[in-house]
Symmetry: C2
Subunit: 276 residues, 2 copies
């Protein structure tokens, strides 16, 4: 039986735990606030502390990216030589830098499942959350057997694995996730403020508003951490976005029909490029 | 039997036609390009010209908002005194101004169903498209019996009807629909451009990107018309959006955790205000 310690049993960690249990792994959960509920829901086999790391094959960090360096430092004294350590954080260069201080850095494999919802906590966890989704790995200089174990972990959860460098990951995620979240936050706030003075218009919207702002319901602490951990690529993506929006705005203001058509064509092409 | 002439039998007009047929109305479709396909799919009972208007109880204009004034002018000579005219356009002040030139302006009732998809054409039409959705009416100075007929029409399609002034409608839609479309277009284009140099990363994204940019697949001609027809309220909404984004960006750039938290809180509040 493969054994895992999941540190952080919220939406993502709880879903990893439940999925690994379903795949036959033995799972220990470590989370001051959420482990009791995770055990109650059957997401984990048992609750343990960081010192449980010594007895497992893999440790999965599923804490907010801002907390990852601190947790890695606390975890370090409890690691055995062979134990593989991985994470699920939305940015990777910072995590990889923190992992370089581990006693055996080549046992660390960065990971990032492209799944999640705007909800959080162990009650939102779901063993099938990663089924059919992508998981990006940033192995860097990790040992081949460590990479293989982490690949097997994600495949056991039903995910499709891709590997890249941490820098590539962070640039990619800035474009397809962090920028959309920043834009969705600003959009939801602006729409709310634009309704001032219109009386009660709650519910008078179409599906487009719901979809474009769904991720604007996401947790503020988690996204504060992600934005700050991936600041430079996000600011670069914001530059591109602001430039696109300024071009579209100018075309609308000037009644430039060709300019609007060109902006929409760039949108269609950009979306096709991302979706494939 | 209530009789309707639907001018434009694409996604929206075709769906109105099919829904009214299902509710027992007799429906004539008028569309140079799409009527034959609409008849083939059984969305309409028959095909007719604008002169069919004389024989119906209600005429529904379902053409792009930019084409509405021209179609109203062509339609005018074929209208009988009692015929009710309505439309489905996404902006209302311009349509109402055009309708003022009709022989009997008090027979015109502006309408706008908050439904649709990023697809278009009669093949995407669906009799259930409006079921459970909102339809906004801008009756202005219309006759009470004309308003009642249009309300009945939308209720027959399963929609819930709300009334407001055309100015209120246009401000509301700028916030909850036109701004989200402008932002989604710019977002899809920027994401595509930010991926340049990353090699093949198609498909490496989460559900957030799909949802926030779904409406960026929308038709460019339709949205060019809407943006230009609702230019001033859209530019006002863009002002608010740019201000929100600038505040969030500055907070990220400065590492201002409280500023990021405040931006996310405004997003949560704005979304709750719109959704109700």
């Amino acid at each position: 039986v493969t054994r895992a310690l999941i540190i952080g049993t919220g939406l993502i960690g709880g879903s990893v735990a439940a999925g690994l249990r379903a795949a036959g792994w033995r799972v220990t959960g470590c989370d001051e606030r959420a482990a009791a509920r995770a055990l109650e829901r059957g997401l984990v086999d048992e609750i343990g502390g960081l010192d449980s790391a010594r007895a497992v094959d893999a440790v999965v960090l599923a804490v907010p990216v801002g907390a990852t360096p601190g947790v890695l430092a606390q975890l370090a004294p409890h690691l055995a030589r062979e134990t593989v350590v991985t994470d699920v954080g939305s940015t990777k260069l910072g995590v990889l830098a923190a992992a370089a201080s581990l006693p055996w850095p080549s046992r660390f494999v960065g990971g990032h499942p492209l799944a999640g919802t705007e909800r959080s906590g162990p009650d939102a966890a779901d063993a099938r959350l990663f089924a059919g989704r992508r998981c990006l790995l940033t192995p860097g200089g990790a040992d081949a057997d460590a990479v293989a174990l982490v690949e097997n972990l994600w495949r056991a959860l039903g995910a499709e694995v891709s590997s890249m460098t941490a820098a590539e990951h962070d640039q990619l995620l800035a474009a397809v996730s962090h920028l959309p979240h920043a834009v969705a936050f600003a959009l939801a706030a602006a729409a709310g403020s634009a309704l001032a003075g219109l009386g009660d218009v709650a519910g008078l919207h179409g599906a487009g508003f719901v979809d474009t702002t769904r991720i604007a319901s996401s947790d503020g602490v988690m996204w504060r951490d992600i934005f700050l951990a991936n600041r430079a690529p996000l600011l670069d993506a914001l530059d591109r976005f602001e430039d696109e929006l300024a071009r579209l705005r100018a075309a609308v203001a000037l009644g430039d029909v060709d300019g609007i058509a060109a902006a929409v064509e760039r949108a269609h092409a950009g979306r096709r490029r991302v979706l494939g």
